[in-house]
């Protein structure tokens, strides 16, 4: 089965190439700066999520109707929305929903996917075959149809949307973790550990899992960004969080009709999402880079 290559191939490979550091040496400095920037962006939005009141004094849910649809200014950094709410405050408070959404989505994919992948990879034979066919079934149903159905079943809301998005990434995590487990299991030192009489479970825990973790983490970081985008797409299709939740995807999608007249409504939350996703991707790249550097 060759398809397990696919998701690893999707991981960002920017920055130094896996086996070719030599001709790229002059670029080393650049990526480090961008990694720092990425971390800074992620730290900032996490701070927004945890302590939003430190960053803004405006109420994200109640606005001043008379101030509706004002452009960005000193008083309203990101302008105001059609009912006079401060957009910057909504973005800051929305970080909690959107980041939680990303984390939940990744957690669902990571936990369920890795469990399937590790079991399949370590037991092998018929169990492996069956589990991988199950994963094929998951992949063969269009992801969007799957996640929309899950939302309809669970009801609308940020967490449910995140679970719906997470379900569609189970297959990717399963395939990646399985291939990593298989790769590590075949490596000399694990064979040696088995050879020296190590029990299956302890070898798995002490050697196989830690060594297969890095690419899975890289995928997790990548999926975090993808999940935030996917949740915003659900908002666009009318399956977003219930109003007045200031979830980012909902902000972008609700503001889109005002693009020609009040550009800030969709553009500024959009820029925030792009920066966060970009940062998550950069971090994912840095993780896989660190791994290749180590090996």
């Amino acid at each position: 089965m060759t398809l397990e290559l696919q998701r690893t191939a999707l991981l960002p490979a920017d920055g130094a190439a896996p086996q070719a550091p030599a001709p790229r040496r002059r670029r080393r400095r650049g990526p480090r700066v961008t990694v720092l920037l990425a971390v800074a962006v992620l730290v900032l939005v996490v701070a927004w999520a945890v302590l939003p009141q430190l960053f803004t004094s405006h109420d994200p849910l109640a606005g001043v109707p008379a101030d509706a649809l004002q452009g960005p200014s000193a008083a309203h950094w990101f302008g105001t929305d059609p009912t006079g709410r401060d957009l910057f405050s909504r973005v800051v408070h929305g970080a909690r929903y959107s980041l939680t959404g990303g984390v939940v989505a990744v957690a669902v994919g990571l936990v369920a996917g890795t469990a399937i992948g590790v079991i399949a990879g370590s037991i092998g034979t018929i169990v492996d075959e069956i589990l991988m066919r199950v994963v094929d079934v998951l992949l063969s149903i269009p992801g969007l149809l799957l996640s929309l159905s899950v939302i309809i079943l669970l009801g609308f809301g940020t967490t449910n949307a995140a679970i719906a998005v997470g379900v569609t990434s189970v297959a990717a995590f399963a395939r990646l973790s399985r291939s990593e487990v298989v790769r590590v299991r075949r490596s000399d030192y694990v064979e040696a550990a088995f050879g020296s009489g190590g029990r299956w479970g302890s070898v798995l825990l002490r050697h196989v899992l830690p060594n297969s973790l890095t690419p899975v983490l890289a995928l997790a970081a990548l999926q975090f960004g993808t999940a935030i985008l996917a949740i915003s797409t659900l908002g666009f299709l009318g399956y977003g969080a219930p109003p007045p939740t200031p979830e980012w995807g909902l902000l972008i999608s609700e503001g889109r009709s005002h693009l020609a007249t009040s550009w800030w409504l969709t553009t500024l939350p959009g820029v925030v999402v792009v920066l966060v996703v970009l940062s998550a991707n950069r971090l994912s790249g840095a993780i896989s880079q660190a791994r290749t550097a180590r090996s």
Partner: protein, 311 residues
């Protein structure tokens, strides 16, 4: 040969399982299509009237009976009728597929070209900062919400610059912006695969040998990279297939195109189960066939895989 037969059998199994899973999932959805269709208060129907219309459609058949009916229908090529419109599902899919196929196919080709341009541009670029910019573009491309990209492209190219008409455009004009919208996010993983393949090739000792023989840099890259990138590109095509369908929902909605994506979103909204079931089978079939082909063709491209596949 046994390998090929085994793969075909397992593909058929996947197809049947996808059908069954989708059937159960769709049956579990709350509400029903008749109710949704007539719920709109502007239709001026009272609750009793809706109930009697519902009766006239005669639902209420056992789950298992429905499953057999639906499955045997599909096996016999009868996809049933849409609950929302009464139109045959086959007709709906028949009119939706060509448009989406064209959109997705062109999207894929443009994405590949875009990816190649980015990757080779980054490698061959004389200045370091340009290479950096080109290398980081794919990350930017996957970070932008597709629907937002589509709306911004329309605003700029159609409404502001007046270059492209989005309302009743010519057949070619109609495709430019949607294809671009679809291609941008899909080009990103492709470009990354290419960049990685290029780096791999450049690191290999034989390149230095070839280079010392006086072959041009670009020519070396092109020949060897294409050979090396062919396999990852092929495998990635399988996964992108699904993403193309997902992307098509958004693109078709933004650009008001009718196609499989919009049909999916509308059918789901209307809980038009026969249509959804048809779409699932169609998508699963496409997935299974493409992956079957990839699995059967891959060992021919790269003999190393033969061992792994059979291992």
């Amino acid at each position: 040969m046994t390998y090929a037969l085994g793969r075909v059998a397992s593909a058929a199994g996947v197809l049947l399982a996808a059908f069954t899973v989708a059937f159960l999932l769709l049956q579990a959805l709350p509400g029903d299509a008749v109710m949704i269709r007539f719920e709109n208060p502007e239709l001026g129907l009272s609750a009793e009237q809706i109930a009697s219309v519902r009766e006239s459609y005669g639902a209420d058949v056992g789950l298992l009976a429905q499953y057999w009916h639906s499955l045997s229908g599909f096996l016999g090529g009868d996809l049933g009728f849409s609950v929302a419109s009464g139109a045959p599902v086959r007709t709906l899919l028949g009119s939706a597929i060509p448009s989406t196929l064209l959109l997705a196919g062109l999207g894929f080709v443009v994405a590949a070209l875009l990816a190649a341009a980015l990757a080779f541009g980054a490698i061959l670029s004389p200045s370091g900062w340009l290479a950096n910019v080109l290398r980081s573009l794919p990350s930017l491309f996957v970070s932008v919400p597709v629907f937002w990209l589509g709306i911004v492209l329309i605003q700029i190219f159609s409404f502001r610059l007046g270059l492209i008409s989005v309302i009743r455009p010519g057949p070619l004009e109609a495709l430019i912006l949607p294809v671009l919208t679809l291609a941008v996010p899909i080009s990103a993983p492709m470009a990354q695969v290419l960049v990685r393949a290029i780096d791999d090739v450049q690191a290999q000792p034989f390149i230095t040998v070839v280079r010392s023989k006086g072959a041009g840099e670009a020519w070396i890259l092109l020949r060897n990279v294409l050979r090396n990138a062919a396999l990852p590109a092929l495998t990635i095509a399988g996964v992108l297939l699904g993403e193309l369908i997902g992307g098509a929902v958004v693109t078709e909605t933004v650009f008001a195109r009718f196609g499989v994506g919009r049909l999916t979103a509308d059918a789901l909204d209307a809980q038009d189960i026969p249509v959804l079931q048809g779409i699932v089978v169609l998508a699963a079939l496409a997935f299974v066939v493409v992956n079957l082909l990839v699995d059967l063709v891959a060992p021919l491209i790269d003999p190393r895989l033969k061992r792994r596949v059979h291992a």
